[in-house]
């Protein structure tokens, strides 16, 4: 006798109850607050905002909490929420030259106007586990503060630009409407604005690996970090109906300008080329990886051959989205028994036909 | 000066459910050429736009779809009505239009002047919404193609003069080509580009649509 398995609905409800239990963990401990997550796991919150393309610390922290710390799940939650939001328009391009800089380093000049500013970096920390953090026993010192007005800090690329040593920062045509791949179907080849959007949303690990591969010779671009800067910039929105520009507030971003391999021809004198990265929040690794991949993807513009994965636009852009990737990889756990049955049947039939031949071979071998 | 009441009034009473109902009617008609759909909900587009045509406009047109209007519609309160209820940009370039609207008896320009899509992206073509006087007391036409079991019949009254000849040319472009929705007051019939139309009377030149089969 056989009774078919039933009760999918109940199984799902029970699974979700157990998940909620595991998320909450030990009830005798206080639950994490959103403020704690923003305050103490800020870089995780930043990554969720960056790859979800939504700048909202509270919602990103909520997503992180709900996802039990699973970054891609949190990114997914926030993106699914973002989709439902109305879209009012595009902001005025961010003026990173007017950034209130918290960190700014250049690898191309020893000193430069505005100086090198290390800021809150892990660089030069010795990676030794800190037992003081176990129980928050030690008092944390107040940071040193610099007095005076925050001034605009010039970009390193501007220094090179003044001498004509670097390619111009490509201007978009006057009537160019910035693309948005969350609103329009993708099409290859892609204009650079859409490509940069895809990279900014792209998986940090995937871009890191691709950027790394260019350094190891898979599409080498001879990069120098012209500049990395991180800090607050103002977001402005133009309201043509009212004839004014509104400030929507400030957001923290990380920008990386990579100075790459020069190009020249009989007509044009040699110039360095650019790779660009910009990410929500503080994420140098992501901004640097993005600028390496951006430059690698400009291969076609410079008449170079596409020889490495990082230079292959369709490959990189189609696979850099971790929400898409995780969905499709993980869908393999869904039932596929109808298809598998079809394969099973075919393999059985083919094996049945194959058998006599196998037996003959074995027999012959035995005879030898 | 367009009448402002006409601009603001006469839209969907409930945009979410009304547009869903109109879309389903249109989808069923597009999937079954020859089948007549009817827009039963209350809607009052400004003249000379018909009710079904107005319903299709509000259901499908928005900021992302440049709309081309016939000269007479452009001069009517329709642009204001469309801007208020749909927010769609108008275009005078036919090949840029996602949708084109014609009032009854409007002359039909060359279909080839509208967007026909490309061989790679044949979907990027204009959908024309053409008002006729009636769908069933005019010249009997026989339809065949996808969506039709054997043949279907319509008898539109007031079809633009050389429509059949142009339609045959449109079919020869497959997979490129425009799609058409014929409207008559509250009623509509869809003619996707795959639809072959032949006039039933022998005297009419029978539109020999070249087979699209490869």
């Amino acid at each position: 006798m056989y009774v078919a398995v039933k009760g999918g609905e109940k199984a799902i409800a029970n699974a979700h109850r157990l998940l909620a239990d595991r998320r909450r963990g030990d009830r005798s401990l206080p639950g994490l607050t959103i403020a704690q997550l923003i305050g103490q796991l800020g870089l995780a919150v930043d990554r969720v905002m960056a790859e979800a393309s939504l700048y909202d610390q509270s919602l990103a922290a909520l997503a992180l909490k709900q996802a039990r710390g699973d970054m891609i799940e949190a990114i997914f939650l926030l993106r699914a929420y973002r989709t439902t939001l109305p879209r009012f328009g595009a902001s005025v391009p961010l003026e990173t030259g007017r950034m209130q800089v918290e960190r700014r380093v250049s690898a191309t000049y020893k000193d430069l106007p505005g100086g090198q500013l290390l800021g809150p970096t892990f660089d030069y920390t010795h990676r030794l586990l800190d037992p003081d953090l176990l129980n928050e026993t030690a008092e944390v010192e107040e940071p040193a503060r610099r007095d005076g007005e925050a001034e605009a800090v010039m970009r390193v690329s501007d220094i090179l630009d003044r001498e004509g040593l670097i390619e111009p920062d490509g201007e978009m045509p006057e009537d160019h409407v910035p693309g948005d791949l969350t609103r329009e179907p993708m099409e290859f080849p892609m204009p650079r604005d859409l490509r940069l959007q895809a990279l900014a949303r792209g998986d940090e690990g995937f871009l890191l690996a691709l950027g790394y591969s260019t350094q190891r010779g898979y599409g080498r671009t001879h990069p120098f970090v012209g500049e990395i800067r991180m800090g607050l910039v103002e977001v402005e929105f133009e309201v043509p109906e009212l004839g004014l520009t509104l400030s929507l507030g400030e957001i923290r971003i990380t920008e990386c300008q990579m100075v790459n391999q020069f190009k020249g021809s009989a007509k044009a004198p040699p110039q360095f080329t650019r790779g660009y990265g910009l990410v929500f929040g503080q994420s140098e690794r992501k901004a640097m990886s993005m600028s390496l991949v951006d430059r690698a993807l400009r291969t076609g513009e410079f008449g170079e051959d596409v020889v490495a994965p990082a230079q292959d636009e369709e490959f990189v852009i189609s696979h850099c989205d971790n929400v898409q990737a995780t969905g499709f990889v993980e869908h393999l756990k869904l039932p596929h028994y109808v298809d598998f049955q079809a394969e099973l049947d075919l393999v059985r039939r083919m094996r049945a036909r194959h058998k006599p031949a196998e037996e003959t071979t074995e027999h012959e071998e035995a005879a030898e | 000066m367009p009448d402002r009441t006409e601009t603001f009034a006469g839209g969907f009473a409930n945009a979410v459910f009304d547009s869903q109902a109109v879309f389903r009617t249109l989808m069923d008609c597009m999937a079954r050429p020859g089948q007549t759909g009817e827009v039963t909900l209350s809607l009052a587009p400004p003249a000379p736009l018909g009710i079904a045509a107005g319903a299709v406009m509000l259901t499908l047109c928005d900021h992302d779809t440049p709309v081309w209007l016939s000269p007479k519609l452009s001069q009517s309160p329709v642009p204001g009505w469309l801007a208020f209820h749909g927010g769609a940009p108008l275009t005078t370039e036919r090949h840029e239009a996602r949708f084109a609207f014609f009032e009854g008896r409007a002359p039909l320009p060359s279909l080839g002047a509208f967007a026909l899509g490309s061989q790679e992206y044949p979907d990027r073509s204009t959908t024309l919404i053409i008002e006729v006087a009636s769908l069933d007391n005019g010249q009997p036409l026989t339809l065949s193609g996808p969506g039709i079991r054997d043949t279907a019949g319509i008898a539109p009254n007031g079809l633009p003069a050389d429509f059949l000849r142009q339609w045959s040319g449109n079919g020869a472009l497959f997979p490129r080509g425009v799609d058409v929705v014929l409207t008559a007051g509250r009623r509509l019939v869809a003619l996707p580009r795959t639809c072959k139309i032949t006039a039933k009377t022998l005297t009419e030149s029978v539109a020999e649509t070249p087979a699209s089969e490869g």
Binding site: M1, Y2, A4, G7, I12, D56, S58, L62, A80, Y81, R82, T83, T84, T182, E184, M186, P189, S318, V323, T326, G327, F328, V329, E330, H331, L334, H336, Y337, V338, Q341, M350 | N14, A15, V16, F17, S19, M27, D28, A31, T59, L60, D62, H63, R98, Q119, E120, Y121, P122, D123, P146, G147, I148, R149, F174, P175, P192, R193, T194, E213, G214
Partner: protein, 310 residues
């Protein structure tokens, strides 16, 4: 017109201080629905051609039916009756989950009876019960491009479709014959639609391919991650690719369903024990249950159950 749910469905959780937006009927905002609706109309007008659309992030993972869900959300109304199946069954977890989603965001009536449904969303099967005019079958599609595994580049496959250059597909099928003595494609078996476009029928077993041919129902296909929508209108030719000397043939099962005794249906293999015991039952659970209710009996149907039911 009856509109029982004019109130927006509110989001279940609130984000502490933050105000979360209310969701629209059928989840998608109206602009998104219009965009999908336009794509659906073009898809119907060009049978088998994959229309690119700006697929949205849905509250379920890519690869789990987001394309089908978006198509259903764009067409569904308060009058509809929805059936959702996965592997032919209404009770598989992902089917349950998608049905619950629509009951929540569109408060739509649901059914498991194929004949009662106006919209059937499916993954991997076409119901055994012949579909009728007025029904819409919405397929969830993982990889809409039939040429993808022969040529991974979208830029190339788009050209191949444009030029109707399908030689590569025939070469692939023929290589199967050379190597295995038969075409070794058992599911997602490519078809030609209206004599023009080669189309992926989604990973349904090829057993179901003949059901697509001149079906009375409208068939819509949604691929969310790959951002494509395509369609087969009713009464449209859908021909499985084959060769004169190796004609297309579907799977044959050499026994009837063990529960309802049906023949000429697609069967799932159920492993009964660790000693090689197995049985074959209808993959279409509604079809099987309806037949059992009508008194059809397969060899393994629990006799005690039947007696209890009487």
């Amino acid at each position: 017109m009856s509109a029982p749910h004019t109130e927006p469905v509110t989001a279940p959780e609130s984000a502490g201080e933050a105000e979360l937006a209310a969701y629209n009927f059928a989840y998608l905002d109206e602009q998104t629905k219009r965009m999908i609706r336009r794509a659906i109309l073009k898809a119907i007008a060009i049978p088998g051609y994959q229309v690119p659309f700006a697929s949205r992030e849905m509250p379920m993972p890519y690869g789990w039916g987001t394309g089908g869900v978006q198509v259903t959300a764009a067409i569904i109304g308060p009058e509809d009756v929805l059936k959702v199946i996965d592997q032919g069954a209404d009770d598989t977890t992902n089917a349950v989950s998608i049905r619950a989603f629509f009951q929540k965001v569109a408060a739509v009536r649901a059914t498991t009876h194929t004949a009662d449904a106006t919209i059937i969303q499916t993954r991997h099967r076409i119901p055994e019960h012949t579909l009728k005019e007025g029904q819409v079958l919405v397929y969830q599609v993982p990889i809409p491009e039939p040429l993808r595994f022969l040529e991974p580049r979208e830029t190339e496959t788009r050209k191949m479709h444009a030029l109707e250059e399908y030689g590569l597909m025939h070469v692939k099928l023929y290589e199967d014959i050379a190597r295995h003595g038969r075409i070794a494609t058992t599911y997602a078996y490519p078809v030609k639609v209206h004599g023009r476009y080669v189309m992926d029928p989604s990973p349904t077993p090829k057993f179901d391919n003949p059901k697509m041919h001149r079906s009375e129902a409208l068939q819509l296909f949604g691929a969310g991650r790959e951002k494509r929508i395509y369609a087969v209108p009713p009464h449209t030719d859908v021909v499985s690719l084959d060769f004169e000397d190796h004609p297309f043939e579907v799977q044959q099962f050499d026994r009837p369903c063990a529960l309802c005794g049906a023949t000429h249906v697609y069967l799932d293999e159920v492993v009964l024990d660790d000693r090689g015991g197995r049985m074959f039952v209808c993959s279409d659970t509604d079809y099987c249950e309806t037949r059992q209710a009508e008194g059809h009996v397969g060899e393994m149907l629990a006799t005690s159950e039947r007696e209890a039911a009487e």
